[in-house]
């Protein structure tokens, strides 16, 4: 069996990559993908701990959370599609109508 530490290193790295993507990427779709990476890092954690404890709860919840993430992407893409229709851009630097 793969030691728990290895899995945690992978999931932490994935979370860090996702967080970096959210901050650095200019395209809103890429930001969306980076957020998905962060959520999947958490799912890896849940499954790893669940196997470690021999407790099915974490794996069950990981499945639910994948479902939630899918719903989130659906709504997110719909919002970005609408933005693209109105503004002809999904660049996060261009959405600056609302500011003080």
């Amino acid at each position: 069996m793969i030691p728990l530490e290895f899995v945690l290193i992978v999931s932490s790295a994935l979370f860090a990559i996702g967080a970096a993507g959210v901050i650095l990427k200019k395209n809103a779709i890429q930001v969306l993908m980076a957020i998905e990476l962060m959520l999947n890092a958490a799912n890896i954690n849940l499954v790893a701990f669940s196997t470690y404890f021999g407790d099915a709860k974490g794996q069950g919840f990981a499945l639910i959370s994948i479902g939630i993430a899918a719903a989130e992407v659906t709504i997110g893409l719909a919002i970005l599609l609408n933005l693209n229709k109105l503004r002809k851009t999904v660049d996060v630097d261009d959405i600056n109508l609302l500011r003080w």
């Binding site: 962060m38 958490a42 701990f49 709504i75």
Partner: protein, 484 residues
């Protein structure tokens, strides 16, 4: 299995699913609104029955969801907000398409908030937060042709997504550290994790970031003014009065049940964040020109006041926090609904548009004055009563070694004084300033449903302010149920 514990959520969820189906049969949008209101009313009745019968703590199934004084009180707050928002929306979204989906999503968002209030488990809490978030992303983007709305929805969605990723990662770490997700069991085990302090702190920070986004705590507040300004104003009322309060419920549960054993590790940080949040919110509100943005920053400031309850952490402080959440729901919800009401009669959301409002509608000018003065904390209004309880808690709760908490009260009082400036400025515009040359000056014909929603908020604010004892008792029971 005892379903009576989840009757309120169940009823509302069924109505939320039924609304689009009913729309196929009946095309009348007023009927749809009435149908949604009936759902909210029935759900409210189920909660009130719980209080009347005095059944105490009812547990559903294996104890993932409970109905007790704490969750019951918050369900009532969320349902009242949903009721007011739907009442105000009848006219506000009259010219829009997809009304059935709009009402359905409001009900679903409320179900999510109620699930958060009822949850005893981190996983259920997360699902509740997500139900509310997903519904409100769609609601913010409701006006498809509105550029500002589309932009607000994009920002809300990106920040919300980051927030939920942090929350989920934090929850997974807590699960990994303790092997359980029930708040009670986490609370017992957390004190025994001396070898894993660093990882526990990481989990704590992650969850704090996640919830911090939800309640618009500084430094995670930057989305709030943009989203509150760009969203349809009735939805802004729901976000400020409902879904933000959901974040506080989640925080109360996580920090005061789950992490109470290591309170010494986080109380100073949260106290500093509380002071920074209220100060920054109030200072930024001072020179806003849009009333929606001003109210958004004032909402951030109020979040700072409520955060005060966490580091103090006594039952009295939580009573104050819950009481302020209750009054804030009416004050801020009412204020945003009032802005929405004026928008339907062609008065814009710039503060200068409110010049001479008293001459055009006494009722609106008076209502806004009451709501804003209550937000500032002027007696005998509700905001004063709740601030008294909240601000006195750091002083009353001081034990040896935590004398520094008195500064929380000091900061709160100074901030209330600062905030009076920008609230009074709006009142001055409405009562003292004359109408601009050539501006329309006929009296306003207000839509009845919206005026009724504003009137309910004003009456509640005055009522709670004049007779606070009963409400403080309710909040105290809720705080006791939280710590039980």
């Amino acid at each position: 299995m005892d379903y009576s514990a989840i009757y309120p959520e169940l009823i509302l969820a069924l109505f939320a699913i039924a609304v689009p189906a009913v729309n196929i049969l009946v095309k009348d949008s007023r009927f749809l609104a009435g149908f949604s209101l009936a759902g909210v009313g029935l759900s409210m009745l189920a909660v009130v029955m719980h209080f009347v019968e005095g059944t105490g703590r009812v547990v559903f199934d294996t104890g993932l969801l409970v109905l007790d004084d704490f969750s019951g009180l918050f369900m009532l707050v969320f349902l009242t907000v949903a009721f007011l928002v739907i009442l105000a929306s009848i006219r506000y979204i009259e010219d829009e398409r997809h009304k059935a989906e709009y009402y359905s999503l409001i009900l679903l968002a409320t179900v999510g908030m109620m699930l958060v209030a009822a949850s005893t488990d981190l996983f259920v809490l997360y699902i509740g937060i997500e139900i509310t978030s997903l519904s409100s992303y769609a609601l913010v983007a409701f006006r498809k042709k509105d550029i500002k709305g589309a932009e607000a929805a994009t920002k809300y969605f990106i920040f919300g997504g980051i927030s939920s990723a942090f929350t989920l990662f934090g929850i997974s770490l807590v699960y990994g550290l303790t092997g359980t997700t029930s708040f009670q069991e986490v609370g017992v085990l957390v004190g025994t994790l001396d070898g894993y302090r660093e990882m526990l702190w990481l989990a704590l920070v992650m969850v704090m970031v996640g919830f911090g986004f939800k309640v618009a705590m500084v430094p995670f507040h930057s989305w709030a003014p943009d989203v509150y300004e760009g969203a349809p104003t009735t939805i802004t009322a729901m976000l400020a009065a409902g879904s933000k309060k959901m974040g506080f419920v989640a925080m109360f549960k996580f920090f005061l049940i789950g992490m109470l054993a290591i309170k010494a590790d986080w109380d100073v940080v949260v106290a500093i964040l509380s002071i920074v949040t209220m100060t920054l919110g109030n200072l930024a509100a001072l020179n806003q020109t849009s009333i929606k943005r001003m109210l958004a920053y004032s909402s951030i400031a109020q979040a700072g006041y409520i955060l005060m309850a966490l580091p103090v952490g006594t039952e009295y402080a939580v009573t104050g926090g819950i009481f302020h959440i209750l009054t804030h729901a009416f004050m801020k919800g009412g204020a945003f609904i009032a802005v929405a009401t004026l928008a339907t009669v062609a008065i814009g959301d710039r503060i200068s548009d409110y010049k001479g409002l008293a001459k055009r509608s006494n009722f609106m000018a008076f209502s806004i004055t009451i709501l804003l003065f209550s937000l500032a904390g002027i007696p005998p209004l509700a905001g004063f009563a709740s601030k008294v309880v909240l601000f006195s808690s750091p002083i009353m709760g001081t034990v040896a070694g935590s004398e520094w908490m008195v500064w929380l009260a000091v900061a709160g009082i100074i901030n209330s004084a600062i905030s009076l400036y920008y609230y009074a400025r709006v009142v001055k515009y409405m009562y003292v300033d004359e109408l601009d040359e050539g501006a329309p000056s006929e009296r306003l014909k207000l839509p009845k449903g919206m005026a009724a929603a504003v009137a309910i908020c004003v009456l509640a604010v005055i009522g709670i302010g004049v007779f606070p004892e009963y409400f403080i008792q309710l909040c105290q029971n809720a705080a006791q149920a939280l710590f039980a």
